[in-house]
Symmetry: C2
Subunit: 380 residues, 2 copies
């Protein structure tokens, strides 16, 4: 029937292999169960209630989000335990309060006394208060405070003065993305764990219960060998994986669940180019493998069934054109792909490529039937 | 009133300065009028009927689009003369035919005999036919045929055999983006003109009327000194401009009409960082100035009224975090921007940053009032 197989739907389109999603989820959940920690998946990659249902087939568990729009969207779908894992802007407190007033257990993230004071002022104005995690820097990657920074205690005291719950600490091993082929990831995971546990210990020594010790990144979540003292792990891109995660050493190409279906629209035999109708608007501008040992361009090209051709990549992209070539340095030959041929392109970065699309067209491994269309949310 | 000024709307948000849009449009239109050619603006950057109204205050003129979804969206709003300037996939012919059957004068782009034959087959199936432009390569940038390639004539003959109108030729000087500071742009414009005119001449020598000779890119459109033989010019990003166009030498920073409003959410004084709530999801992953003499990171930071702080850029970005620093090598000092401060970030690439947002919040130069909200379309 037209429109219901990968041979027939309009291109470019975002394709999700749900069997691979289920496999990726099962693997990480089993690992975290072995380590004795709770799991709080990050839904910033998926941005989809339907994908969330694969994580929580028996009802909502705790989740992480990156925007208040995500929090509102998942709360409307039934989520009741949400950590908003981006530093809280004071002018977003009212929106957080509305979620809390609606019965959602929201946890926010701060790393300055000013933010704690802004929460205190909002509490005095009658806004319902979220719980708070203090952001800890474990590797110099982004925000947060060093575990022994006196500001950690100052924030906790400011929160206590405002009658606001100090729920604990949160850190994110963003520098784990600089690892390649798995090397250094167990150590990055231990560094992440140790920083968070140390900070929680300092809070507890000052009389704060700090029941939550939250760590997480997809690479460290998979390579952690021991998580003593940690209460929960966050990870998001692991559901889909991508070429960056493959380069870091966290997954095989065969684990990548998301791809962009495209159609061949031209050739430049003189240049060794095949032109497809997936440019950067469909792939995103993410060039996350640019400095990896294997640069995947804008994506690795597979046949319509998801089997890579080999060293065939989207080497360059315009808004709606992808230029497919053999990877520079490879001795592979350019396959003959006639005009109209459909290909699937594995992305560098699932979060970024997903953000370019309004829906997933869902397939089961090995099949071309589109078994469902799952909308994605966006915005802030 | 809350929600109606740049001080109050939720961040991140895409801001459009409509006075700058009008100024940019007036400038290019005057230049093309001087050169005696028609103007067919490309709406892939704006993707907005409201922006199109600034181009056509007295009723729709000819437009260019990059997707069939854009063609359908603008046709629904009244556009009747649309060039779809991406190589036509055979399985998109039926959608084109539906637009033609609905009364829209659609022109499509091809550069292979296979595409001409696919159109012929569709015509025999009773699908309403668009007019066709043959894509010419003027600078080796992407698709198209060299002006003297025998395939140009073979395509035209295949179209004639199928009873389909050969409307002419189209080329795009994509390599003009490699110029810096304006150097080489008049020459690139002349090369673009000459290639298109030569190809049209060959078609006419074989008895094809080829009434349309279409050229265009924002850099060459502004730097062309003579366009004899050209009938129309296409350009899109000029409406908004961006830091890439500034680096190429086509506009001043003060001409850039689009920016992302963001809020300061953290500091890392030890690292010289200010954290804002606009990451790559709000800015896009576009790093188009990466190889320019002045690398703008993910964007140039201005105050809420749009005045640049100087050498302050978004040096790195996560999904929802931007890391603002002084540009490496600059002796500027990091300004003290308290938590909650609002800034405006000029993007590298207006087409890519626009694609991350669902709407423009519209301001008039110098004012903080949001005078309108203009939706953007997306998808394919």
């Amino acid at each position: 029937m037209p429109g219901t197989t990968l041979d027939a739907i309009a291109t470019p389109a975002l394709i999700l292999d749900v069997a691979r999603v289920d496999r990726n989820v099962t693997r990480l959940r089993a690992h975290l169960t072995d380590l004795g920690v709770a799991f709080r998946p990050h839904l910033k990659t998926a941005k989809s209630v339907d994908v969330a249902r694969r994580l929580f087939p028996d009802g909502w568990g705790p989740i992480t989000v990156s925007t208040l729009a995500e929090a509102e969207y998942f709360a409307a779908a039934g989520a009741t335990d949400i950590t908003y894992a981006v530093g809280l802007a004071p002018d977003k407190i009212a929106r957080v309060g509305a979620l809390v007033a609606g019965g959602v257990d929201v946890t926010v993230l701060i790393d300055t006394v000013e933010q704690a004071q802004a929460l205190g002022a909002a509490a005095r104005d009658g806004i319902a208060m979220p719980a708070v995690l203090i952001e800890i820097d474990c590797d110099g990657h982004r925000g947060g405070l060093l575990p022994d920074d006196a500001v950690v205690i100052a924030i906790a005291e400011a929160l206590r003065a405002g009658g606001i719950e100090v729920r604990g600490v949160l850190t994110h091993a963003g520098e784990s993305y600089a690892c390649r082929g798995g090397v250094g990831l167990p150590e990055a995971a231990e560094q992440e764990r140790a920083a968070a546990v140390a900070a929680a210990g300092r809070l507890r020594a000052r009389g704060f219960a700090a029941p939550v010790v939250s760590v997480g990144s997809t690479p460290t979540a998979h390579f952690a060998r021991m998580l003593d003292g940690v209460t929960e792990v966050r990870a998001g891109v692991f559901m889909f994986f991508d070429l960056v995660m493959h380069g870091i050493g966290v997954c095989a190409v065969d684990d990548i669940a998301v791809s962009v279906l495209a159609t061949v629209v031209g050739h430049r035999a003189d240049k060794g180019w095949i032109l497809v109708d997936a440019g950067w608007m469909a792939m995103s501008r993410d060039r996350g493998t640019q400095r990896h040992p294997v640069d995947q361009g804008y994506g690795l090209v597979c046949d319509i069934d998801g089997t890579p051709y080999g060293d065939l990549i989207v080497a360059d992209a315009s808004q709606e054109h992808g230029i497919v070539t053999v990877r520079p340095g490879s001795d592979a030959t350019l396959p003959m792909l006639p005009i109209g041929t459909r290909v699937r392109i594995l992305p560098n970065h699932a979060c970024a490529t997903g953000g370019q699309h309004d829906a997933y067209r869902v397939v089961d491994s090995g099949g071309r039937d589109v078994i469902a269309t799952w909308p994605r949310m966006r915005g802030w």
